[in-house]
Assembly symmetry: C2
Homo-oligomer: 467 residues x 2
Amino acid sequence: MNRFLFAALAASALATPIFALAQRTPPPLPAAVSPEVERLRDAALTDDVAWTIVEGLTTEVGQRLAGTEAEARAREWAVARLTALGFKNVRVEPYQMPVWERGAESAEILAPFPQKLTLAALGNSGATPAAGLTAEVAVFPSMAAFQAAPDDAIRGKIVYIGNAMPRTQDGAGYGAYGTARFTGPALAARRGALAIVIRSIGTDHHRFPHTGTTNFPQGVKPIPAAALSVPDAEQLERVAARGRPVRMKLVLTPRMVGMRESGNVIAEVPGSDPSAGIVLVGGHLDSWDLGTGAIDDASGLAITTAAAKRIMEAGTPRRTIRVVWFGAEEVGGMGGAAYAKAHAAERHATASESDFGADRIWRFQVNLPEEATPVADRLQTALAPLGITRGSAPGGDGTDIGPTLQLGTAAIDLNQSGWDYFDTHHTPDDVLDRVALPALRQNVAAWTAMLAVVANAPEPIDPVKPR
Amino acid sequence: MNRFLFAALAASALATPIFALAQRTPPPLPAAVSPEVERLRDAALTDDVAWTIVEGLTTEVGQRLAGTEAEARAREWAVARLTALGFKNVRVEPYQMPVWERGAESAEILAPFPQKLTLAALGNSGATPAAGLTAEVAVFPSMAAFQAAPDDAIRGKIVYIGNAMPRTQDGAGYGAYGTARFTGPALAARRGALAIVIRSIGTDHHRFPHTGTTNFPQGVKPIPAAALSVPDAEQLERVAARGRPVRMKLVLTPRMVGMRESGNVIAEVPGSDPSAGIVLVGGHLDSWDLGTGAIDDASGLAITTAAAKRIMEAGTPRRTIRVVWFGAEEVGGMGGAAYAKAHAAERHATASESDFGADRIWRFQVNLPEEATPVADRLQTALAPLGITRGSAPGGDGTDIGPTLQLGTAAIDLNQSGWDYFDTHHTPDDVLDRVALPALRQNVAAWTAMLAVVANAPEPIDPVKPR
């Protein structure tokens, strides 16, 4: 660096965060981690168990929509596989749930430019008549534009809501942009719309619609609700931009089929100290019906299970590790709610779920009691060689573990990169081809290190205030 | 380079083509090209006409399967647009053709692992009963394995043929690996198969099936024939690899709807010297029915038309440029055949088509008479700044111009990169999102340069022996 440039930088630093940083207390030296943790972590980088779970479940069961016979087959598959892997106390904990099933689905612009569009019904969507429903489309580029519109621009129409979700590493866009799916249909129903189609909550530009649940509160009659693939949504917007009224025919014939059995599949690595609390890990067994649920969430099951198996094979941990393959996550988190209800009296040390795809973990965040801070410090050391940084926000994320966290259970989140996740999420393209073995193995290594640190931590891990 | 390395390279060069190359006559100096050609070429790099054609046709018409009312609407659109662009002698030349239309289509593995598969019927496919057809699947990883199998491994079965097409810049894999689609169904029908599903002739790993025509010769009763998306094909192979018999249910209800009208849309830039022969350029107006045919072949129409318009606006060329938007290419090249029949008595100087997507042109190849070699030399100079190299094989490629080339017309091919083409070719994903404006403009610039050189070439361009 030449000295003029150096002087300029030094001067500018006076006003920049670089300078501020230099004034802070230097970060503490890394906490020491036992060589055994490092050995287990590094050995997991050649793991094959996770792959065989993802490949097996997606091939031998395929899609497994909650509450259907396919999800029941998946539970049988799960019990057989978890037993064969050597876990203890393998069992199914059943519960009842209302089941929604997809029917026929098609969309067609009738005027001004006749053409078919690709879409998929949202979970809990109402149905059109079997012969379809035809109406003018009220096109809104965003939720804000929809909300600002007068009711008479909506009444008797098929509402379209665009909403281009940005790509982010941490998935921050899903909550903000997902409202078009989560609450758009109920709002449209309340305002007299005949039906609603939204731009898929996704970041790709391929003709895969992204399904997912929507919600019609008690007293709001469900209207037909579906997601157009992103190119189809943009096509509809281009057609509408020509300025002539757009008429659409919609056929959506899903139905509620009543109460059915679903269940959580549970397996354990018993610990030596039952009073130290359970370390709960897992993902969800059910999937959407369009793909085979490889990244959502066969990978999460595979990663957490492969890691638990590695700890089991290394000897008896202090804390019991409980692996749960939750049922019925996609359609409303019934499995997670049933688990928390059934196990509320048990002492959980921590809860962690893997349900954000199969890409590499880039960050961990915790919600631990003060006295367990050294556990987080050791995690930081143990995870760093895998390219994982420590986040500063409180952890405690996930639909399945959410109800258990609400009971005051401490949380450790291992965050996967969501950069590509919403390209595929809830589409027909969620299949084995989306899972990269090296990334899957990085996940297993991270979870193995986490379990090795947490399950054997000598510190107490007491309840916390949920974040 | 250190001298030891240099000595080693020099020694090894004795046995390598590098040395052989050094012994050749040095290449000739570049031919001179008029500044007007360069000016026209470079101005085309900001072209917007091509984009408005691709965007307009795919938005305002959408899919336009040959012989359907959608293709008829596309012809109306074409006449209006070509007229508005200022072309002369805009007209439709109609012809009759047999029309095949897609019906319902679904596939389901019933055993050993029940699950749905994604597929699309091939053009000219026969139909299953409306309720479907159920049979055991005979799985062959390749055409070779299928051909080697005894008839009793095929009779009464649903045949599956895998065939992983490699990615190539020049599209070389399509002919070789396409046989599973072109002739596999007829061979399977002859050998007593009930139906056939093939791995899509594509290079992607997404759940888009690639349709395309197949052919049942006179006397062979069409069987149901469809393409599985590549992930679904690999899923079927994984399921079969578990070693248990695979039973599949197939519903395919396409039908031949009889003879219908199709047509070629023709537009001209009249030249000053009718005796010099016509320069024929174009692409095809029809598309497959799954996407909107943005890369196949709205882009080809757009590129050639935008280039011709630029020449028109620069003044009257020596040779008439005829732009043809051929009908019914996808389903058997009826438009190209009808054109050659109707115009056999006319003198064509050259023929060139753009029908390989919307990616950049990387190479040109010609089939020109000896006396027109200077034209090719000038093309080399004019195209080089666009990153286009001269190929050594004889040119003359394309379904639409094929019959005209067979009459002895000289050929100039501008080859687009096919690296990504078969990711999208004939899938629902062939939509506007696949077209990149900078690449489209490079194409327009190359075609503009080509037309500027060829239409104004003072040399005669006489008939040639077809390659």
